[in-house]
Amino acid sequence: MSKRVGVYICHCGTNIDGMVDVEKISDEIGAQGNDVVVCRHYKYMCSEPGQKLIRDDIVELKLDHVVEASCSPKMHEPTFRTCVSQAGMNQYMFEMVNIREHCSWVTDNRDLATIKAKALVEGGIARVKYHKPLVGSKKPVTPAALVVGGGIAGLTTALKIARSGYKVTIVEKEEIIGGRMAQFDKTFPTLDCAGCTLTPKTSEVGRHPNIEIITKAEIVSVGGFVGNFKVKVRQQPRYVKLDKCTGCGDCQKVCPINVSSQFELGMATRHPISRPFPQAIPNKYSIIRDGAAPCQSACPAGVNVVGYMNLAGLGKFDEALALVRERMPFAASCGRICFHPCESACKRGQMDKPLAVCQTKRFLGDRELSKGVFVHPKKQDERPERIALVGAGPASMSAAYFLALMGFKPVIFEAAPAAGGWLRYGIPEYRLPKDVLLQEVENLASMGVEIHYNTPIGPGRSIDDLMKKEGFSAVFIGVGAQDAMRIPVPGADAAGVHWGVEYLRDSAMGKVPPLAGKRVLVIGGGNVAVDAARTAIRQGPASVMTISLESRQEMPASAWEVEDAEHEGVSFEHRWGVKQILSQGGKVTGIELRAVARVFDEQGRFAPTYHDDQLTTREADVLILAIGQKTNMKFLAPEDGIALTPRGLIQVDADTLSTSRPGVFAGGDCTLGPASFVQAVGKGREAAESIYAHLVHGGLREVTPKEREVPKEITPEERKRAQPIPRQEMPVLAAQERRGAFAEVELGFTEEMAKAEGQRCMSCSLCCQCGECVRACGPVAIDLTQRESIRELDVGAIVVATGIDIFDAKKYPEYGHGKYPDVLTNLEFERLCNAAGPTGGKVVRPSDGKVPQSIVFIQCVGSRDKARGGEYCSKVCCMVSAKQLSIFKHHSHDGKAYVFYIDNRTGGKGYEEFLRRAIEEEGATYIRGRAAKVFEQGGKLVVRGENTLVGGPVEVEADMVVLATGLTAQKDYLNVARALNLATDKNGFFLELHPKLGPVETSLAGIFLAGGCQGPKDIPESVAQGGAAAAEALTLFSMGEVEVEPTVASADRSLCTGCKTCVSMCAYNALSFSEEGKVAVVNEALCQGCGTCAAACPVAALRVQHFLPDQIFAQIEGMLA
């Protein structure tokens, strides 16, 4: 079908016609026919007569395509599109050819320019024939806005939108709104108080019914499209309920922790529970907590170490013990035998020595035992359910404790005559005295836990029986690993050979063979082996030697235990393995050993190999083989229906500890293999929670999100915070007194020692959750169990006002910021001036508190310096310094102010006048030139620079130096950009749609920018942009619906093979793979029309409307014809 194309060529006065022979082109094209119905040229096509020419032709000549050759489409494409649509033609049937900017203006050869212009027009004609009419679709708008950032720009936007009657949600990263402006003292050029201008706004925002503020929150992702965004917001816990907090401040009075205040730029400290300043909005407290401290994360039972150590530091031992008990019921035992991973994780260990956590805990436990009064938290209302617990080891005891607190009736069945399991029969008395254990067991019994001794569970009285016949509602299996692992060693049946775990159990029961005068050999490298050796040496043998496969470093036994054993006279030999046991007349005489080649394979798995040619023997009368331990599963009956893992352990769900039989739970060694006491206690508590959920809620507990962990590396800030107290050393029994005695070796802390140890804690989690504030809070507003949460918001427009950051002055080491305390950044100086600031508004030197007599301001720190900072001008620093020196001069009239500057840029209303006043009235000395260096000389700071106006170097003495640091993008700008799909420039500032015509719009329809996040701005500009962004959002709301551009991608189902090449191309998630259709699907509302997918699509099934391959190919051919 033939097309009817009209071609119009503009002279643009002489702009085009001067260099291009418009008439000639027009005649040639008009003469060629080929679908071109008419070709006209005119002086000014964009003028009304020019446009009318086109409109009339469309109607009279029935044109179906129009080509217009004139200036850049960036200039007049909308004009002509409107023009053709006025004549009834679809605006996309039009093509604009640029023969001015791209042709007549850049050539000086008229012939070549004419050739080029004609080629361009031919390209347009060829292309336009393939154009198709396109119409966008309409979608309703959600009349609510999201403002990201609660600084002055965002607040302005929020207020304007809210006042117009629409809902606004402000998402603010910090705990309060106000942004940078809240930190300022006075503002230029009027020198009025920043707080006085800001607070009325913040408080209006705070109380406006249409505004909701979400503090401590960030945008995670944005879905949807203009008018219909779905925004995910991640909120960090505030720990203080906004609706309950009255702002009375009782909480912060009792807070034991002091950390440096970010709001004050580290020039003051704050309590983790606090508010930055009294007028802050929301005018409520909040707690800053970085996450779980390494010690707490390391503890298998999850004990809040930081909390109770700090309480101990305050001398609040009862509260400390209560906090321990939330996770660890047996403080006295744990304090003795725990392998304390908390101490290994303690960050203070990176500086001097870790806190003596374990011993402090023991102190807390012992203190209670010595008082003889057992305090446990209040039990919940009694419940009818009885829970059976199998085994009276640590796991069961822990579960029983927590079950009892929940109101259940726990009943423990223990095969042995005493409780404690491994604690009782595995751990020698010198480490855990029996009476300590006994008291903890008695305390448990006092809570209503029944313990039946000598009552084995097994066939005859199986778990099945417990549930079916005896009416237990749930069962917990907490059996330990108390059988010795036996390996076939030749000669192991000789008299005098003992197995490690059994040997320990026998000694605990007093059934140990006499060892006096005998040579004892212990085989093994684990804790059982060392315990056995240390037990043996207390029985008066001639010698005790331990032989391990592993080297000293590889040994799994705790290093300090090995050391203690050596102190007590145990000798060690390493890297020998048993070949056979030598015996005579059925009695052991020694052992033959072979050298170990390696213990672990490349993957670190235990897989020993030996040199069979390197043999040796050791003589011995008694041999203890301590090569491992295992759980005896004989107590399980087939009808119990409890599944085991391939390793022979009870199979449990990792989160709920539920076994394969509903209602039966298990924890401790029988599920983990030989593990530690503290792990068993942790599992016991988890099982209790699961049992509670199972019986009370009828389902298993939901897994609560784990608190994030604080970084493991110590920070400089923490080093500063650490109090210089040495670690308290535990008094011990002298080594010579230990042999032959089972008296406890470690003697325990005193109150003073415990307190001192507690004060050593740096509280690297910031808030330690000691609970002091909770106890002090009258309105019960504090909830320390809060966790981060995700909220989803539906909004129609998003205004991004995330603000600016301050350039890090340390990147200019020659200026000495951070090295000399009296070199400040201008924001730090601002806090000094501020009446609510760290000095109460006195401008004094941080080093000595003296009032400075001379201050040097250094301009352009981080600005206009491509090498180290931004290439751009930060815009406000000239005025900031002029303002600050004026404030300084108002404080001390005789003071001298110097400014090293490059250019003074004061392009604002009243700005230049303000600067002139600073120079002329305040008498500041402006030196043109970059300062080269700041150094100390004779107790004074000296600024060396160059005076480029007079030429030559200059040195100025100063009491204080203020660096006019530049403004930079927020450090986390990329997170915001990614979450919102915003484009940024190379400095990290968000890209506006057009630098002049679209300053607050972004390339994403419905997402707007305001304030410093788009580039350095002063307050008036930020406010103006805030207003402009509000107007954009309001325009959207008042339109009620949005037209979705038709120049978007579409997928041809008849071509698409579902290869998924395109899916990862789309930066807007507009492309997805339809599982039903097995084809790609375009969400046209999300598509921005970039065409990346179309270029990648291997079958050309994806196309962007108005940029179809046919159209481009035709244009190429036309241009080259």
């Binding site: 270029a1095 990648a1096 291997p1098 391959p1109």
Partner: protein
């Protein structure tokens, strides 16, 4: 048994090529045992020994032409068959796109061995015979004469070959198995066959999408992090070969084969020619693969590209003479 009034006259010829296509036509007869009822092969030199003169005995209804145009004799054969046939069908990748023999077009003239014959059009005096002169380069049939239908593939799969015979020779007269033949044909073609009308001229007897559409492999995510060559290790079954880092042209090749090669664990090399909407298969393959490079770093990308070899010989393996837009000469007619 009713027979059509007049059997269609059939011509079958192979120019320069391997004869697998003719074999395929023979196999049709073996398997379907139907063709003879509808068609008289009046001209089939390589199977029946028919001389060229047989062509002058009246118009042929359908000519099935296989092989690349490589010599003067091939060109003459194409012209003669075009002249004497109602419908001329390009059968197989060689006739359709140039095929493997066309690959030789890439080789540089200077690299060919010296002293080899180029064919001679005149006897050299000693009574020795002449040899048809070689064309400057291998061409596909449509570059020499107008072609009515195309049956692609190297060789064409039996079902599509049969579909073409059903459509062009039997014209709805055959009760034979359409569903077997029409498995992957576009609906319009299948309907035309069923209705006994000729499909639109220019129809390619192939599927309507690309090979991926019928390939059994699992596509998860296209992220090209490493360029593997087929001798390197990869999974025989399961995941998409391209996603495993192998160049596989299934993404941009017209379907119809059912993904035979990918199904047996070797990458597609495009014997069905480019998928219908594509301009140039090499450019599209470049676009599709490189777009998914798993890097944003120019150096990393350069290193990745370093591992690609012989793009032209791979992307235009079967279609160099006609579908490589930088080498191709335009079609005739």
């Amino acid at each position: 048994m009713s027979r059509p009034e007049q059997k269609k006259k059939l011509a079958i010829y192979t120019a320069t090529g391997c004869r697998a296509c003719e074999q395929g036509i023979l196999d049709l007869n073996y398997e379907v045992n139907e063709l003879g009822r509808f068609a008289d092969p009046v001209f089939w030199p390589y199977v029946l020994g028919t001389p060229w003169e047989a062509l002058s005995e009246g118009k042929v209804d359908v000519a099935l032409f296989a092989g690349t145009i490589r010599t003067e004799a091939d060109r003459q054969a194409a012209l003669k068959l075009r002249e004497s046939s109602e419908l001329l069908v390009a059968v197989g990748a060689c006739a359709a796109f140039g095929g493997l023999p066309g690959l030789a077009n890439l080789a540089d003239a200077t690299e060919a061995k010296a002293g080899e014959t180029t064919g001679s059009s005149s006897a050299d005096g000693e009574g020795k015979p002449t040899l048809p002169r070689a064309e400057p380069q291998g061409l596909c049939l449509s570059q020499v004469v107008a072609v009515d239908y195309v049956v692609p593939g190297c060789p064409p799969t039996q079902n599509l070959l049969w579909a073409a015979v059903l459509a062009l020779v039997c014209r709805g007269e055959s009760p034979a198995r359409l569903s077997y033949a029409a498995g992957r044909l576009p609906e319009a073609v299948a309907e035309a066959i069923a209705a006994g009308v000729l499909p639109r001229r220019g129809t390619t007897f192939a599927g309507e999408k690309a090979v991926c559409g019928s390939c059994s492999r699992i596509k998860e995510e296209k992220k090209f992090g490493i360029c593997k060559r087929p001798y390197q290790e990869y999974q025989e079954t399961g995941r998409c070969l391209l996603e495993q880092g192998l160049i596989c042209q299934g993404v941009a090749t017209q379907e119809g084969c059912g993904g035979i090669c990918t199904g047996v664990g070797v990458p597609c090399r495009g014997c069905f020619g480019k998928a219908p909407a594509i301009f140039d298969p090499g450019a599209k393959m470049v676009g599709a693969i490189s777009s998914t490079f798993d890097s944003k770093d120019a150096k990393e990308i350069a290193a990745l590209v370093e591992n690609f070899v012989d793009l032209a010989g791979t992307f235009y393996r079967y279609s160099l003479p006609s579908q490589c837009s930088l080498l191709a000469t335009p079609d005739k007619g």
